[in-house]
Symmetry: C2
Subunit: 110 residues, 2 copies
DNA sequence: TATACTCAGTTACATTAAGTAACTAAATGA
DNA sequence: TCATTTAGTTACTTAATGTAACTGAGTATA
């Protein structure tokens, strides 16, 4: 009895990937960065309703996961650019599939 | 000036897809249902830490999106099965890509 | 030389979502 | 009879998000 009570039968790496991607805003931030390195305000403006507070939290998390890198250009004033690592760019095919699904199955808004 | 202030340049259907998939638990519930129709408690047991409360909320949302269907078998006692619609099964390639990414880029837990 | 504005955030506070645990009601099993 | 299963719901707590104002360094404008 109860052979599936206390532990998941799912692959922990798969679960981890889903956990990363399904945190609010994470996917959209990564998708936005797929178009190239960007500064904090650029990402912020590209994603309406995303607050600077959450953006800075997410960027830190994504940096820790090795998906995003933060590069400081010591100009004056200092310029900070966020971009995807190889690991981050490797997420692209997921977004391609999401794009396919959405254009096939979601209604076109009027 | 300010050409990207007040509206997103992202495709609204793509954004909607991300919104659906990145709601907590939604992806894992859909993934779980990819293995076939299942009853409420089966899904609940397969996904530890997912409470019955959130599961019932998510299943209703997914039903409204046309991703999941709820079928009542009028046996005694009544049996209720949740399964994916065509729209729901069409999400499979996304999970395939997530699986590929996770096995290539995430560390194997010890 | 004030004044305002930009950038890259942070802080305080309010609202919403999620987690926890107990409960329901009908049916079944020991 | 008492416990258990199923498919949830309800009440309450805790965690995550949203909102808005604020910093502090640098730059541009009047």
């Amino acid at each position: 009895m109860d052979q599936c009570q206390s532990q998941s039968q799912m692959c922990p790496r798969f679960e981890k990937a889903v956990e990363i991607l399904s945190k609010r805003w994470t996917s959209l931030i990564v998708f936005q960065l797929l178009s190239g390195p960007q500064r904090f305000v650029q990402i912020d403006h590209a994603l309406p309703n995303l607050s600077g507070k959450v953006l800075s939290e997410r960027l830190k998390e994504l940096e820790q996961e090795g998906i995003v890198k933060r590069v400081v250009f010591p100009e004056s004033p200092v310029r900070i650019e966020y971009s995807l690592t190889d690991k981050g760019r490797a997420l692209a095919p997921i977004f391609v599939e999401i794009g396919k699904w959405s254009s096939e199955w979601l209604p076109v808004p009027e």
